[in-house]
Symmetry: C2
Subunit: 336 residues, 2 copies
DNA sequence: AAGATTCTCCAAAACGTTTTGGGAGTCAAG
DNA sequence: CTTGACTCCCAAAACGTTTTGGAGAATCTT
């Protein structure tokens, strides 16, 4: 509605003075500052965002790329995380835009469009792959970014991740300590770092215990993928007595397979993500979760610090995984 | 990196000509146009978004407000819808920003900030309330917007909604036809239009059948809310034999209550939303879903048409609800 | 009383684009 | 040779801010 020029004219002041009064500079008298602020409040003046962005050479925007592959975006509560992140970014004057990748375009095209069009000050990448072309591109452009999940990139970059290796190793050892010997793993797509990391954790534990690592099936990180992978493992000549699943959604799919095959109370199972839904499955799903509160806020904080120029090495958070004890991991163990 | 001025200088042309060549105007010769395009491609020129926005007086942005109340954002697949919407908006040069409402601020504050700062060309509102202050504000400002869900606003506004009334009425009548007489409703918070609409549908069917409408319990639109509401209904002297639940998440919570109370195979149940998860519950959850493919694309289309100035009356989509037949609605009916 | 310092304020430039309103040429018709 | 139409191009204005580099007046110092 009103712009700086109109506001200045109505006050009999220059544009400069009004602008500086509103920004709280000391070189405008307290009296004038107050007068300007009152007038601005009264007419509901808000600086034009585009003009400010142009002048300041900042986009005041952060983009998060979303894979279009259905179900590959992330767990259902992922939006809550984004929401938390956006909220904290907003407190610093930045808005979060979501940038889905249309079919036929690569994630790289999207990054390029946002970066080269100076549409964003930073980017947030989710569901990193082990070798992630987005990371390589952003590093080459020197634009700040934070990833949700590590990569195998040689150059360090800011990230937040859970220690899936340790978590899945510990869960597997827990099953071993409970007497299980045939412990299966339902794995996510191995090109994703998180899926590979969790698989490695399971495998490491199995090898430490001197057990074979052949009870492993891979599927899409969704209920259906877990269902199919579980059926595959249950068809083996010697069935697993326990299952470690890459995600809760896969575990919930596996639960259905167990119900169909053996009534559902024979095989122990554990997932990862701590979906609220897990407390309501039958049996209630034991799971794992990344420690740390307010993940979204942490992402926002890292993004702001990355924009502020802090080196990547100081912007890496690896969170421990904690076990969530419900019931599904405690099925009675039958003699083999 | 490079801007129009540098590109123009390197070509020995004016800024004007380069700009118009890239935009495909007819008043620059085909030869020059081609030469300019090649040069632009070569240096990877992209117009500065902020400058264009300032000049064009368009933000090239659409914001969607997200309630901060946890779990009140929407169903888990909500992000998929947003992603689809963002994808189609992007094809028209618009980006979608998510605007969560921080604790202590009202949804109105957020709308005001975006609208008055000219940060957006349009807004997308979700989880409408029956009387929605955001709608009233945006109508008074005359800024284009589309809501996910109707409101009781007197002035028509663009929306996409499912016909919850008809869907829940039909589901209730289906139970009645199957012989049920004590049909309960697990309702969402009645200030939300969708929750009220679905409740009305249930109530209308009950009254048509001459049945009492006292078997109704309200809860938060999440598993826990459904769980508590179901417990409440099951404590009644004469229990319901069937439950119509406002959302799948509530229904999944209710399933747990049923398991705890009576082993879980006595009472029929139906939800709404068709969560993928529903195919994997025990028993598999019968549910309802809004008809129509690519909801996100529909939202994008309505937003673009609203920005284009089409009147609100032509931008209202009420979708029929279809029944999804799994198993949970078909529990054997015991004599009362 | 002169010079130095401080306090307020402001004109103008800049950010990078799009758009307006022509200005040279060329060509065909009169 | 003039006129008008057409083709291709461009200088300059505008979008609304922020920031630079002072200017003038008042106050303090000596």
């Amino acid at each position: 509605m009103t712009n700086l020029k109109q506001l200045a004219e109505s006050l009999g002041l220059s544009i400069t003075t009004v602008s500086r009064a509103l920004d709280g500079y000391a070189d405008v008298s307290a009296a004038t500052r107050e007068r300007v602020r009152e007038a601005a409040d009264k007419v509901g003046y808000r600086p034009n965002a585009s003009a400010r962005r142009l002048r300041r050479q900042r986009a005041e925007l952060v983009a998060v790329t979303l894979p279009s592959d259905p179900g590959h975006i992330g767990p259902p509560h992922f939006l809550d995380m984004l929401s938390g992140c956006a909220e904290h970014l907003a407190a610093a004057g930045l808005n979060l835009v979501i940038a889905p990748v249309p079919r036929g375009e690569s994630e790289l095209d999207i990054c390029r469009r946002f970066v080269d069009g100076r549409r964003v000050d930073a980017m947030l990448l989710v569901r990193t792959k082990r070798k992630d072309e987005r990371v390589e591109f952003l590093q080459s452009r020197g634009i700040p970014f934070v990833t949700n999940g590590r990569t195998e990139s040689l150059m360090p970059h800011p990230y937040i991740d859970g220690d899936g290796f340790a978590g899945f190793r510990a869960a597997t050892l827990r099953f071993h300590a409970a007497g299980h010997r045939r412990i299966g793993h339902i794995a996510g797509p191995q090109e994703y770092y998180f899926a590979h990391d969790r698989c490695r954790g399971w495998r490491a534990a199995m090898e430490e215990c001197g057990l074979a690592t052949d009870l492993c099936a891979e599927g899409a990180p969704l209920e259906q993928g877990g269902y199919l992978a579980a059926l595959e493992l249950l068809r083996q000549p010697s069935r697993p007595t326990a299952l470690v699943c890459a995600t809760d959604e896969m575990a919930i799919g596996a639960l259905r397979a167990l119900r169909e095959i053996d009534g559902g109370n024979q095989i122990s199972i554990v997932g990862h993500d701590d979906l609220p839904m897990g407390a309501f499955t039958s049996p209630p799903l034991s799971t794992m979760r990344m420690t740390g509160e307010h993940l979204g806020a942490s992402f926002a904080s890292l993004l702001l610090r990355a924009i502020g120029g802090e080196p990547a090495e100081e912007l890496q958070e690896l969170h421990a995984i904690e076990f969530v004890d419900r019931d599904s991991h405690r099925r009675p163990l039958r003699a083999a």
